[in-house]
């Protein structure tokens, strides 16, 4: 296998392909990032100019802001419960959908509909009603014998779980990506292994999982990253206050509250940078661990 020469011309023509991304990167990403890093060392009430206060924001965050630490724990709980569940469901359903049933197109669409509703206001409102004290869920539960079910959505012990369920319910996106990935595993592999006498379970572990491994990694990182930033559903379902008792105060929600609600954009910027570091570290760890597990078929 020959590799193209690293000539200057070669580099330049490669960079030409990269140009749009580079422009976007410097103007729309780097500049705002630097500006927000600067803001994280200031007190910035949005309309009045920023006032430099050094490390104060970071200090307060980790030593005296209970609501911050709480939001961090709430978010960690949310991410590490909902993401694995979501991926597992997505994979199972994708595998079920990866076959020639008569109405398969229709079925795929059905399972994707919850995701289509996305951050829809209507669905969040509905969710609140579903899990309310006198909501449908409790009506069903009472009918099957549970005499006094709690008010899920307004009980600090359970409110977060309703949000986790909402997130897992919308597993459509990773499901689609798994489906695309499953399609990309050559059928010959399965046929060959069948001939060799492998059963479905063995096939799954020997062919499907390794074949899907780049996709699994991709889905995991993407879901983790976006779950850390989850905002809309918590915002609408809790009415914007992260309640009850801050049990649904996601990191992003607290950031939003601090930045726009309490006019501490400097603090919010500091929170954003801390989040970036957390996500970055977890992703690096994920990549490191996956190095030995993920196989790229194209000979990278």
């Amino acid at each position: 296998m020959t590799r193209p020469q690293r000539t200057v011309l070669n580099n330049l023509s490669s960079y030409a392909f990269l140009l749009p991304w580079l422009i976007g990167f410097f103007t729309l990403t780097v500049y705002p990032m630097i500006y927000s890093l600067y803001l994280s060392f200031t007190h910035y009430a949005i309309i009045a100019p920023p006032r430099f206060i050094g490390w104060s924001n970071y200090k307060v965050m980790f030593t005296s802001d209970d609501r911050f630490m709480n939001s961090l724990f709430v978010t960690l709980r949310f991410v590490f419960v909902s993401v694995p569940l979501k991926l597992i469901f997505a994979l199972i359903v994708a595998m079920i959908m990866n076959r020639k049933l008569a109405l398969i197109g229709f079925y795929r669409a059905i399972y994707y509909i919850p995701t289509l509703l996305g951050g829809s206001v209507a669905i969040s409102v509905l969710w609140r009603r579903l899990f309310a004290f006198d909501g449908i869920v409790n009506i069903i539960l009472r009918n099957i014998g549970w005499a006094n079910p709690p008010s899920w959505i307004s009980n600090p012990k359970y409110a977060l779980s309703t949000l986790i369920i909402l997130a897992v319910w919308q597993f459509g996106s990773p499901m689609i990506i798994f489906l695309a990935g499953l399609q990309n595993i050559p059928r010959e592999y399965y046929e060959a292994s069948s001939i060799d006498g492998a059963n479905k379970v063995r096939q799954f572990f020997a062919i499907t999982l390794p074949g899907l491994s780049p996709i699994i990694l991709f889905n995991f990182i993407m879901q983790m990253t976006s779950s850390f930033q989850a905002f809309t559903q918590a915002f609408i379902i809790s009415g914007g206050n992260g309640g009850p008792l801050d049990s649904t105060m996601f990191y992003s929600l607290y950031l939003y509250l601090k930045g726009w609600g309490f006019s501490e954009m400097g603090y919010a910027s500091a929170m954003a940078w801390v989040l970036l570091l957390i996500i970055g570290s977890l992703t690096a760890i994920a990549f490191k661990i996956s190095g030995g597990l993920v196989s790229y078929g194209g000979g990278e």
């Binding site: 309309i47 309310a132 307004s154 009850p244």
Partner: protein, 431 residues
């Protein structure tokens, strides 16, 4: 290759269209354009649009673009961001948080002083209730013009109470009488329905808290002294009051109370038929009544008459952006909204009862609005001047809400809660 060329051509066409759409905005004309930002739903938007049409008809050459947001939360996020980028609207509605935007305020100076414009004759302040002007006057400058007056009240579900055969509560009562009434009423109510919603646990509870501290003689905040008169013991007594109600069963337990956000008619326990008494602002009567089949009415907070603990306040204020390129026209528009009888006819009491005597002459259009006026007539004498708003309004409300919930859910004691509230007050004042 052909497909690719076609795609590129389409892309080119699309890009040109996009830039053309952008360029259209830059047209220069001699029409004056005003941008008016406020919050509200469908009903309010229709009323506002009707008022705008009248203004534009009376003033050819002036166009008013309204920029409504679904809620106050969205509204301020949008306005703050726009202003930070130097692109704020001309006329901006604000609520009790307007002091955040005056010179020296925590968010920065945004609101224009209106007195000079009154002197130029652009705004007629002579027909405005003095209380309304005083409300938005700080250090000799007027930062906003009231959209209308309202008062806090307790709302009762008249039909429900009559249905269970209970007497209606007195409009005026003392705390002891009120407590007894709640107990008696609760006895007759079916299970699952409570005599009163736990207004201490609501997100908007800073108002009832403000009422009680006023009644207690220890106002929340005195601007001149930059201090609060509330002590931990006072705050504890307020928390104990509701703990008492909770133990009597006249208000719902914390998790049920928390499931009603009480931000509007849809999230109201009263409207849902699960509470007989709730908290309401007078300008909301029409909206709430329309959401219910049962009839509602207003009564005073207990103890209002004995200590004149209620107050009349302004529901919202119209403010003008100090960097607006059309300040004179903005002033004329605000004057129109507040003083014009034509405007008052279409705007109604949706943003409070008009504070302008010439606009008031129009009268109110429906019996629900009349209920608000009747209440204000009775409760009016039982008022004192409104206390100053605690600075950093949003954060105060949010944290107060959290503290109350923690007490209600039993996480902390009322004594601890009392202490935390006082600490919160001091923190907000110092910020």
């Amino acid at each position: 290759m052909k497909k690719i060329t076609m795609m590129l051509v389409i892309l080119l066409a699309v890009t040109t269209l996009v830039f053309a759409a952008g360029a259209k905005e830059a047209q220069k004309s001699d029409t004056v354009t005003l941008r008016w930002a406020y919050w509200g739903g469908e009903a309010r938007i229709e009323r506002s649009e009707a008022a705008i049409k009248i203004f534009e008809a009376q003033n050819p050459g002036v166009k008013v673009h309204q920029e409504p947001s679904g809620g106050a939360g969205d509204h301020f996020v949008k306005v703050d961001t726009q202003v930070a980028a130097g692109a704020g609207p001309d006329v901006i509605n604000m609520g009790g948080n307007y002091p955040d935007y005056i010179p020296g305020g925590p968010k920065g100076h945004l609101t224009l002083d209106l007195f000079p414009y009154a002197e130029q004759g652009l705004i007629n302040l002579d027909v405005i209730d003095p209380g309304a002007i005083a409300y938005a006057t700080v250090d000799g400058a007027l930062y906003g013009l009231s959209t209308g007056a309202n008062m806090p009240a307790l709302v009762i579900n008249k039909s429900l109470i009559e249905r269970v055969g209970a007497p209606l509560p007195p409009v005026t009562s003392s705390y002891a009488e009120f407590r007894q009434y709640l107990i008696d009423l609760q006895r007759r109510l079916p299970s699952g329905v409570y005599a009163m919603q736990d207004i201490g646990v609501l997100a908007s509870n800073s108002t009832p808290f403000g009422y009680w501290t006023g009644y207690n003689g220890t106002p929340l905040y005195i601007a001149a002294e930059k201090a609060t008169k509330v002590t931990a013991a006072d705050a504890k007594r307020y928390l104990d009051l509701f703990a008492d109600y909770r133990s009597l069963g006249v208000i719902p337990p914390a998790d049920i109370a928390a499931s009603y956000a009480e931000t509007n008619a849809d999230t109201s326990m009263l409207v849902a038929g699960k509470a007989a008494i709730g908290f309401l602002w007078t300008n909301q009567v029409d909206g709430y009544q329309q959401a219910m089949v049962d009839e509602i009415d207003l009564i005073e907070f207990p103890g209002a008459a004995e200590r004149n603990a209620l107050w009349q306040t302004q529901s919202q204020v119209y403010t003008i952006n100090k960097d607006s390129p059309n300040k004179e026209w903005a002033a004329k528009f605000v004057d129109f909204l507040v003083n014009s009888p034509d405007a008052a006819a279409v705007l109604g009491t949706d943003r409070g009862n008009s504070v302008s005597s010439i606009a008031r002459a129009v009268g109110v259009s429906n019996p629900n609005e009349q209920k608000g006026l009747d209440y204000m007539a009775v409760a009016g004498p039982h008022t004192m001047p409104e206390n100053d708003h605690v600075p950093n309004d949003t954060e105060f409300n949010s944290t107060l809400f959290l503290i109350y919930q923690r007490v209600a859910f039993g996480q902390i004691s009322t004594a601890q809660g009392g202490q935390e509230i006082v600490d919160l007050l001091n923190r907000m004042i110092e910020k």
